[in-house]
């Protein structure tokens, strides 16, 4: 099936039709998406700061990662779900949009960096080195890039 075929099929589904014909549905789903990304971003920032020995430094890194990484996973799940609904509602905005694929690429990188840092953090008496601090800083830039790419989907 061609890209256009996928778009036509998705647009015709009853779920897509229901979202398109409900005036508040798309902004409502976007608000859920933004609230979740705010929580995810703050959790990622707190984890990255802790890896650099800053932020909530009084709590052991393993303990903080044990609390925040699963919470980030829950946020990501809601972001995937709300994002999927937005794609189903308006597939023409994303499926042929190169910025959307850039966003997905950055997302895979951010998740990989976070999982690696989480594995480092879970080691008993974990002591992050400069490379981990650099990776934590990079992950924040990548999360920021994901937000920027997400907003640019509307403009490209």
């Amino acid at each position: 099936m061609s890209m256009q075929g996928v778009i036509d099929w998705l647009t015709a589904t009853s779920l897509s039709q229901a979202i398109q014909t409900t005036s508040w549905a798309i902004p409502g789903i976007q608000v859920v998406h933004i609230v979740c990304l705010a929580i995810l971003f703050a959790l990622a920032l707190s984890l990255s700061l802790r890896i650099a020995g800053r932020g909530l430094a009084r709590e052991p890194l393993a303990s903080l990662a044990g609390r925040f990484v699963p919470a980030m996973g829950i946020c990501l799940a809601v972001l995937f779900l709300s994002g999927a609904l937005l794609i189903i509602a308006e597939p023409f905005r994303t499926i042929t949009n190169p910025i959307f694929y850039l966003k997905i690429g950055l997302l895979i990188l951010a998740i990989a960096l976070t999982l690696w840092l989480a594995a480092v953090a879970r080691r008993p008496a974990a002591k992050p080195s400069a490379i981990h601090v650099a990776a934590a800083a990079l992950s924040m830039l990548v999360w920021a890039g994901i937000i920027i790419a997400g907003r640019y989907i509307a403009y490209v």
Binding site: I26, P27, Q30, V31, I34, V35, L37, A38, I39, L40, F41, A42, L43, L45, S46, G55, L56, A57, R58, E59, R67, A144, I147, I148, G150, R151, Y152, A154, Y155
Partner: protein
């Protein structure tokens, strides 16, 4: 606010420049700033509700996170003003925009009341479950900031 002033504002070279070239980037930076503001506030508020970070004193959590909140708030005001001046008249008349500003003011009042009244007894509950007034402040704050994000997103759909 006078329409003449708003019209002058959106005719300034800066407003025209942002509107023609930089709007999507300024908007993206606004979203990042809001994410840090609201996200860190949610972390402090859920601690205030006694739900998370309960092994850390409340004062410690707020002291370590709120500098980020304020820095990002300054960035969100700056980027917000840059977006506003590009279309000052229509934003000023936009109902979701007005509701968002009202909710921001209420969030500020909630914070001032908490700082001025509830927080005075923090020594008694810094490591314990915060009292009802503190939990109420946390819940009100979370609700208002969700509202700020909600009406903020609605601005673009109502203009």
């Amino acid at each position: 606010m006078s329409v003449e002033f708003l019209e002058w504002l959106q005719g300034t070279p800066l407003a025209l420049y942002v509107g023609e070239t930089w709007f999507p980037l300024v908007e993206s930076l606004h979203v990042i700033a809001i994410a840090i503001v609201a996200g860190t506030i949610f972390l402090v508020d859920t601690r205030l509700l006694g739900l998370v970070s309960t092994k850390l004193p409340f004062t410690y959590v707020s002291e370590r996170l709120l500098p980020w909140t304020w820095g990002a708030f300054a960035a969100s005001v700056l980027t917000g003003v840059l977006m506003f001046i590009g279309n000052a008249v229509s934003y000023y008349e936009n109902t979701p925009f007005r509701v968002k500003m009202l909710l921001l003011a209420l969030a500020g009042l909630n914070m001032l009341f908490f700082q001025g009244v509830t927080f005075r007894s923090v020594a008694e509950w810094d490591l314990a479950r915060p009292p009802a007034a503190a939990r109420a402040a946390g819940l009100i704050s979370i609700t208002l900031w969700c509202g700020v994000i909600g009406f903020g997103r609605w601005i673009g759909f109502a203009s």
